[in-house]
């Protein structure tokens, strides 16, 4: 492709845009929060634990649903 004045100007603009956008992108990846749909499976429960008693399981739940 012949490098005429129009193509030269387009390349200068493209280079300038890249110079602005690329570092912004890199910066953004450090500043923006990491996004998760799936969470890690925790092995620790923050509340008290209780024993699963089969006579309790057999009873209908008191909650709706």
């Amino acid at each position: 492709m012949e490098l005429n004045r129009r193509h030269f100007v387009e390349r200068v603009f493209a280079a300038a845009a890249a110079a602005v956008v690329l570092p912004t992108d890199a910066l953004a990846s450090r500043l923006l929060p990491r996004r998760y749909t799936e969470a890690l499976r925790s092995r620790l429960y923050p509340g008290p634990l209780k024993r699963l008693r089969h006579e309790e399981v057999r009873k209908q739940g008191k909650w709706a649903g």
């Binding site: 799936e38 969470a39 925790s42 634990l49 909650w63 649903g65």
Partner: protein
């Protein structure tokens, strides 16, 4: 940056280190999102499947029902607020990892597992992993949910679920915002995703006096269900009882529920039920082809079930659901 964003539900919570999302159970620990109720249900019971309510899914069978603390909605009328609106720190839980769920279900003679009571969306990883284990053991999976979830995780859930009862609380975004702290559209999208994924979907609408009991609201909801989910989709109108932060309103008059059923039937829905109240014929299933009585129920008991091979024995009409 150590803040994380949870993309599971439309709340898209930004969670600072040491804090949880609105659901109370998805916590940022050192820049990582942790599901702190994973494998730790606070409730584990055997219910009749009709209690979910599911009327078109293995009628008369027991269903092992589990829930953890927390919820991503904050409905002022929540009946299960003592587990859904509390922090896991304050709610005692069992150690029941996903691999143990099918064993307990089978020990109690159940044919399916329900992820219910609070909100299976917020214990998403536990639900998905347990569903996979349950399928491996030959059990079915049921979601009882408000359906407030983003599309991609809902699709993943539907791939491992067999049936769902999804609340459609009102056909009004203002209602969702004012009463539940949520929005309407994601719920409608979740309903469509579930139905189009082949999950057996039943819909519940809790009718609350003055808030969502207008003929236009109920009519709009019924037309939406008929047009977007299909006329075969069972619809349960449920009676409101004053609870939690909504004790200022009276229980729903039985006449309002009768009227809601008439509106739904006029919209063309085949299977319309009334729950939480004793009404004649309120919980029976009739054939949409010949109007024969197919399933007679009283509260959670099946008095007779004439559905044969998923069809009406009189006119051979296919009846929506999983019957055996």
């Amino acid at each position: 940056m150590n803040t994380v964003q949870c993309d599971l539900c439309p709340k898209d919570c930004l969670i600072a280190p040491g804090q949880s999302g609105e659901c109370r159970v998805r916590v940022n620990i050192d820049g990582k999102l942790l599901a702190v109720t994973y494998g730790r249900p606070c409730s584990a019971h055997v219910d009749p499947v009709e209690k979910k309510p599911l009327f078109h899914f293995l009628p008369g069978t027991g269903i092992f029902s589990i829930a953890t603390a927390g919820c991503n909605l904050h409905c002022k009328n929540c009946q299960n607020w003592d587990i859904s609106q509390r922090n896991p720190e304050d709610v005692a839980a069992y150690e029941l990892p996903p691999e143990e769920v099918p064993r307990v279900a089978l020990e109690h003679g159940c044919r399916s597992v329900a992820y219910t009571y609070s909100e299976p969306i917020i214990f998403y990883e536990y639900t998905v992993d347990s569903c996979i284990r349950a399928h491996e053991a030959g059990l079915k999976n049921v979601l009882v949910t408000a359906g407030y979830v983003n599309k991609a995780p809902m699709e993943k859930l539907c791939a491992v679920a067999d049936a769902a009862n999804i609340d459609l609380k009102a056909m009004s975004d203002a209602f969702y915002r004012d009463v539940c702290g949520a929005t309407l559209k994601p719920v409608l999208d979740a309903l469509v995703v579930a139905k189009s994924s082949g999950v057996i979907v039943e819909v519940t609408n809790l009718v609350i006096p003055t808030l969502n009991d207008g003929d236009d609201q109920i009519g709009g909801l019924c037309r939406w269900v008929a047009e977007n989910l299909g006329k075969e989709t069972p619809l349960h109108f449920s009676r409101f009882h004053p609870d939690y932060r909504m004790k200022n309103l009276p229980p729903t008059p039985a006449g309002t529920l009768d009227r809601a059923r008439e509106i739904a039937e006029a919209a063309g829905l085949y299977y319309v039920y009334i729950g939480n109240v004793t009404r004649r014929d309120a919980e029976n299933t009739y054939c949409p082809g010949c109007n024969a009585l197919l399933v007679e129920r009283r509260r959670y008991a099946i008095l007779q079930n004439r559905v044969t091979g998923g069809r009406c024995p009189d006119c051979n009409q296919e009846i929506y659901g999983l019957w055996s």
